[in-house]
């Protein structure tokens, strides 16, 4: 589904990402870990055509993403608050996003109902603007908006940070469910090794822009990662 070939990104001559080849097949849950500055967000931004690669390309369904819009209808993403429109209420924002993906009001209402547990009753129907919500609730709104368009590809940057423990568990359940039920291709970055190994079938470790590990998640994966990151 996603093919990366010879992808390079440099800022002021310093290479921050260098991936010679990487293939993410349809339905895979792909976890990305690495310390700060390893290039996780840069990689996601390149996939989403938010920045321009110095060399190489990312392809989705055989079409390169750069300067192309054909991937947008089936790709949902949430990287940071820049993906929210913070002066809208959640209801207005979901309606707006829903319309972009040709959802009817009924579809949107049904979807929000299904998210009610994840939202913990704090978001639906609220008249507050998104900018007045806590970071955790903003994250929930962003994740929900990414899912609203029935995406085939879901890209989330550190979805677990800022969420409370119950919400983290609910999110894990939600992601696992989406994967088994709908076979969504998921790309998730995380600093929490526990969560990412529980959700993802494949873990890639980035260090200073290079892929240093690419492992299928198994019994020992968590231990392997912990010993890798141990100082």
């Amino acid at each position: 589904m996603i093919q990366v070939s010879n992808l390079k990104k440099a800022y002021n001559g310093v290479t921050v990402l260098n991936i010679p080849a990487l293939n993410i097949p349809k339905g895979e849950s792909f976890g990305l870990v690495g310390n700060n500055g390893a290039g996780k967000t840069t990689f996601f931004r390149l996939i989403l055509d938010l920045i321009e690669a110095n060399d190489g390309e990312v392809q989705i369904d055989g079409q390169k993403v750069a300067r192309n819009e054909s991937w947008k209808p089936f790709t949902g993403s949430f990287l940071d608050e820049g993906f929210l429109i913070d002066f809208l209420t959640p209801g207005e924002y979901f309606k707006f996003v829903g319309k972009l993906y040709n959802k009817s009001e009924g579809d949107i209402a049904l979807f929000l109902e299904s998210m009610e547990e994840f939202f913990n009753g704090e978001i639906n129907g609220s008249k507050k603007m998104i900018r007045e919500f806590s970071k955790g609730n903003q994250k929930k709104i962003g994740i929900a908006a990414a899912l609203l368009g029935d995406p085939q590809i879901l890209i989330l940057d550190e979805p677990f940070t800022a969420l409370d423990p119950s919400s983290q568990i609910r999110l894990k359940r939600l992601l696992n469910d989406l994967q088994t039920r709908l076979g969504i291709t998921m790309l998730i970055s995380s600093h929490d090794l526990n969560h990412v190994t529980e959700v993802c079938k494949r873990i890639v470790v980035l260090e200073k822009g290079d892929v240093v590990k690419d492992i299928a998640t198994g019994e020992d994966t968590l231990k392997e990662l912990e010993s890798y990151f141990a100082v």
Partner: protein
């Protein structure tokens, strides 16, 4: 000493903001502009004596004293509108062992250091020397200057208090405006003369050695009012919630639903404008600009170029204000625009139609000016065509060069955040090309040729809007990485 530390922090906050160095061009432009204004004010101060000598009703000093309360009221009104409330990041200091009253005093007195409070001295000092030191004594002149400055301080403190206490919503502004109008009307009808009171009061202040106690007392009272307000509202959350009360303006925009995704985008833009103070102030100001015609159309001295400039300005004011930053308004959620299912063409089209709607609205709102004669009717029609056909495209195309994040959470008029030299480069040709065109063509041939040619340009722009918009889309696509990069840099 802690106070010195606080001053140092303010200073560091100023020079460490990333905008400080980047905006050299804007700073130079503003610097030259303020020098020019300063020179004008100084010159005015020198000639004010001469001017007032021509006015019947008293000596220059008496006249100035009489106008003083009016000046102060106007100043208060302007401050109420424009002055930004001083803030220190109270929360980050409150947890430290810093004396609270020190923080409040600092917060209150900080605005008094602002240069804006001293600009008018450029007028007052030369005036005092020429019309007081010359006729009375140096002491009178000195008292006049000191009293004036003290009243300016009083104004500044009073404006902060009123703003904190009553908020700066539209309603309180209208109330103040109505009160102001009432006083003016009473004066005009000779029912009640603020002028006479002011003349007597400031005459006393200036002539008596103890007179300065009055303005000094006013400053102290204004200061204590502020202190009282802070004593009443001990916790910052209390008065913060008052300032940023989240009225979610839920204007019914459901009629836009019919226009699909473009309608949705436009409705989001309208909400953006209604829900941020910076954009609300701009909308409010543009209503004032609609009155420009009363100034220009009634004056015989202006050439046709200037008159047409005025028509163009009024019939396109919303378009100019919005279009100058048409992409930058979306700074904070630009990544959302790029990754959600919004084709670039749809995005550009939504901006186009919004500006088109703005032009229609402004055109309709300015139709009362048609009473000024057929020339004005032709000019407004031409201006509408030219704005709609050419200027929208021009703005859309060149808006892609603004890649500086516009921070809407910071407020108020006179906000230059997000302004670069590019903003000036975009607006200048739009503003001055038509004046030049009209002046040159009407000099060479006739006014009607100038009008018809501009209208024709507008029509050509309208007819070829498809390929022109495609050009804008192409431009947007080729610049979007640079724009997105710039928008991610929070100041």
């Amino acid at each position: 000493m802690i106070l010195l530390e606080l001053v140092k922090h303010e200073w560091q906050k100023g020079i460490r903001s990333s905008g400080f160095y980047k905006n050299v061009a804007v700073s130079i432009f503003l610097g030259v502009f303020s020098l020019y204004m300063g020179g004008l004010l100084f010159f005015m101060g020198f000639s004010l004596n001469k001017i007032l000598e021509e006015v019947p009703g008293g000596t220059p000093m008496e006249l100035f004293n009489g106008a003083m309360l009016y000046l102060l009221l106007t100043g208060l009104l302007l401050r109420f509108m424009m002055q930004q409330l001083g803030t220190v990041n109270l929360n980050s200091y409150q947890v430290l062992p810093v004396n609270r009253s020190l923080l409040i005093n600092f917060l209150l007195l900080k605005p008094l250091v602002s240069l804006a409070n001293y600009v008018l001295l450029l007028v007052v000092i030369p005036f005092a020397i020429r019309s007081m030191a010359a006729y009375y004594t140096g002491g009178v002149a000195l008292r006049f200057v000191v009293a004036f400055e003290l009243m300016v301080w009083c104004n500044s403190l009073l404006a902060s208090f009123l703003k904190r206490r009553f908020g700066s919503g539209l309603l309180s502004f209208i109330l103040v405006l109505v009160a102001f109008g009432a006083i003016f009307l009473l004066e005009y009808l000779h029912v009640f003369s603020l002028f006479a009171i002011s003349r007597a009061l400031f005459g006393f202040i200036v002539m008596n050695p103890i007179g300065l106690l009055i303005p000094l007392g006013a400053v102290v009272v204004a200061f204590l009012l502020n202190k009282w307000f802070f004593a009443q509202n001990f916790y910052p959350e209390k008065f913060n919630s008052k300032l940023q009360n989240s009225r979610t303006a839920t204007a019914d925009l459901s009629f836009l639903d019919r226009f699909g995704v473009i309608g949705e985008l436009i409705s989001v833009q309208i909400k953006l404008m209604l829900r941020h103070k910076r954009t609300r102030t701009l909308l409010f100001l543009s209503a004032f600009f609609l009155l420009y015609g009363l100034m220009f159309y009634t004056n015989e001295h202006y050439g046709d170029g200037m008159i047409f400039f005025c028509s163009m300005f009024m019939t396109g004011i919303l378009m100019f204000i919005y279009g100058q930053w048409s992409i930058s308004w979306d700074s904070a959620h630009f990544d959302s625009i790029l990754t959600k299912n919004i084709p670039a063409r749809t995005y550009i089209l939504s901006n186009y139609y919004l500006m088109l709607a703005f032009n229609v609205i402004c055109f309709i709102l300015t139709t009362p000016y048609f009473l000024f004669g057929t020339k004005i009717i032709y000019m407004h029609l031409t201006a509408f065509l030219f704005n709609t056909g050419c200027n929208i495209i021009f703005l859309l195309f060149f808006a892609t060069f603004n890649n500086k994040r516009v921070d809407l959470s910071r407020s108020s008029a006179m906000n230059y955040q997000g302004t670069t030299y590019k903003s000036f480069l975009i607006v200048l040709p739009i503003m001055f090309f038509p004046i030049l065109w009209v002046n040159v063509l009407s000099w060479l041939t006739s006014l009607s040729v100038a009008m018809w040619s501009l209208a024709a340009m507008g029509l050509v722009g309208l007819i070829f809007r498809k390929p022109l918009l495609n050009l804008c889309v192409k431009q947007f696509n080729s610049r979007k990485y640079i724009i997105a990069q710039g928008f991610r840099e929070v100041e």
